[in-house]
């Protein structure tokens, strides 16, 4: 276990290091970010001033090392547009996205686990068909379309729920459902197939042969094994949702990290963009690491590969 842990940790560090290079290179793809930051109609002197102010005139490798060195101490520079330190800006927006992500994941699990379990227990029955329809629909509906549909039905038509901003907890309902639907198909399918597999396994058959109550077999024994991969997939899906929340936050005007990313991209606020790219990758890398560790803890076979 110790070796597995060390190896996995080393890979994660390498992955984060390489993604930091990618995050840095992406904003420098155009060559000179100073031109974009100065905006249209800026004079050559303005561009040159920005270039020296932010150090864009230094070699890229020097800029990268300086950026990573500062990032390691938790220092990400200043947002030139918001005139605040990037850490402060991220701190203001992160709680909203974290809340949205947690609620969305909660919704996705609330739909996919009961539905997946029942679908797996009663294969080819009506619930299985419903589950399959939910999975197919969740996969085919673009999130911005689902968002606008929910706004139309629950906001405009029924007047049940607020549709924009984050003033109250109710404001999170529609965005969380939209984002949750994005994670639901994968979780649903995995719960269902895990359930089908485990119900055919020896220990369940033994339990049934001993005459345990069917619900007891399902809840205490089958669900427990079927749920392990779902938990680790849920961790990964949470990481993916941080990226997926850009569209959802844009539609619902939630001022989270997704909205911040979208606005920063439009105003070439490169310090913020770099920090967001690195942060999202880091969160995803850490979550997959935790998911792998969880799997290894629960399933000894995983430690060998």
């Amino acid at each position: 276990m110790g070796r597995f842990l060390a190896r996995r940790l080393l890979v994660t560090i390498l992955v984060v290091l390489v993604t930091s290079i990618v995050a840095f290179s992406l904003v420098h793809l155009s060559g000179d970010p100073a031109v974009a930051m100065a905006g249209e109609g800026a004079s050559a002197a303005d561009v040159a001033a920005i270039r020296t102010l932010y150090g864009f005139d230094r070699p890229l490798s020097v800029q990268y090392v300086a950026w990573v060195g500062k990032a390691m101490t938790g220092e990400f520079g200043r947002s030139y547009y918001l005139r605040e330190s990037v850490v402060q800006v991220l701190g203001e927006h992160a709680p909203i996205t974290a809340a949205l992500g947690a609620l969305a994941l909660g919704f996705a699990l609330l739909v996919s686990i009961p539905l997946g379990v029942l679908a797996g227990l009663m294969r080819r029955g009506p619930i299985d068909r419903l589950a399959s329809a939910v999975a197919v629909a969740g996969q085919a509906a673009p999130s911005f379309l689902l968002a606008l549909l929910l706004i139309y039905v629950f906001g405009v038509w029924l007047h049940w729920l607020p549709i924009s901003g984050n003033a109250t907890a109710l404001h999170y309902v529609l965005p969380a459902v939209t984002l949750g639907m994005y994670a639901t198909p994968a979780l649903l399918r995995l719960t269902r197939s895990g359930m089908i597999e485990v119900m055919q396994s020896d220990h369940i058959r033994t339990g049934r042969a001993y005459g345990l109550a069917p619900w007891r077999v399902v809840i205490r024994h089958a669900l427990r094994s079927a749920i392990i991969p779902v938990v680790s997939l849920a961790a990964v899906q949470f990481g993916l949702m941080l990226g997926g929340s850009i569209v959802v936050e844009a539609v619902f005007s939630l001022k989270g990290l997704g909205q911040l990313a979208w606005e920063s991209i439009q105003r070439s606020d490169i310090e913020v963009i770099q920090a967001l790219l690195l942060l999202t990758s880091l969160v995803y890398a850490v979550l997959t690491l935790l998911a792998d560790l969880l799997n290894a803890l629960l399933d000894p076979r995983m430690r060998l590969s």
Partner: protein, 287 residues
């Protein structure tokens, strides 16, 4: 004569309802995208401010001149819808060519050689999975500028991971099979073994992945265009049409529904086709 696995697969495919529904819908969209604009004969970019926001033909003030009405600039919605189908299909297909090539090559190398090569391939896959797709795509398009070529390249460079994962594990299985070992024994070159022996034998799962990634690419393009960083006006993209009609949500919701439903139908058709192919290619995995 005993039927070959391929004929058996085709026979199963022909009996699969999803194949006919998904494939049929996709074929209709393809034909509409190819010949529709010519038959309709309306310019999707021609603005006519005197005839803006006309109802569709079923609406109270709709007319036959514009079957699906016009948008806020007086452009014909049907013409834009057909043009948007071309763009969605082009992006979807071109992207899958790019991502399929990258992913399959990486997967073949990693799966066949194993060892350090496989470790490197695995590492590259992990890096790709760690990068947030929408965010990276938005940043690149914003920095480099947006054109159809750039969109195809960006989306193609982001969505190859599933191809690589599937090819890698399938190649690992085949690398020790008798026919690959025989090919090696008679002195076949490595490229020949990879491309002529292994690749045809993993074509089935790869086609299934291609349908998944085609749908994925279409959705990603729509999302980027919806956020204003994808297909640029005056080109018509379904995501862009939804974004442009967003302000009409209260009074003319069909302006959002028309491109939105078209998008959902296209993705659904591709997914259904993929499900049918999966059942046929890997019937043992059918639960």
């Amino acid at each position: 004569m005993t039927p070959t696995p391929a004929t058996l697969a085709l026979r199963r495919l022909r009996r699969h309802p999803s194949f006919w529904i998904g494939g049929g819908t996709l074929a209709i969209i393809l034909v509409l995208a190819l010949v529709g604009p010519a038959i309709l004969g309306l310019d999707p970019t021609a603005q006519d401010l005197a005839h803006r926001l006309i109802d569709p033909v079923w609406g109270p003030k709709g007319g036959r001149a514009h079957l699906l009405g016009t948008d806020q600039l007086g452009r014909d919605t049907l013409a834009r819808l057909l043009d948007g189908a071309r763009i969605s299909l082009f992006i979807g297909i071109a992207t899958v060519v790019v991502s399929g090539t990258i992913g399959t090559l990486l997967g073949l190398l990693g799966g066949y050689f194993g060892g350090r090569v496989d470790m490197a391939v695995n590492f590259i896959i992990t890096i790709r999975l760690t990068l947030p797709v929408v965010l990276v795509a938005l940043v690149v398009v914003a920095v480099v500028g947006s054109s159809l070529t750039i969109l195809v390249l960006v989306i193609g460079l982001l969505l190859w991971d599933r191809f690589a994962v599937v090819t890698r594990s399938a190649t690992q299985r085949l690398a020790q099979s008798d026919f690959v070992i025989s090919a090696r024994c008679i002195g076949a070159s490595t490229p020949r073994i990879l491309l002529a022996e292994i690749l045809p034998n993993i074509a089935g799962p790869l086609i299934v992945v291609a349908t998944i990634e085609l749908a994925h690419a279409v959705l990603l393009e729509a999302a980027l265009s919806f956020l204003g960083l994808g297909v640029k006006p005056p080109l018509a993209s379904w995501g862009l049409m939804v974004a442009e009609a967003k302000s009409q949500l209260l009074f003319r919701p069909w302006q959002i529904a028309i491109p939105g439903v078209a998008l959902a139908i296209l993705v659904l058709a591709v997914n259904l086709l993929g499900d049918a192919l999966r059942d046929v290619v890997a019937p043992e995995g059918r639960a």
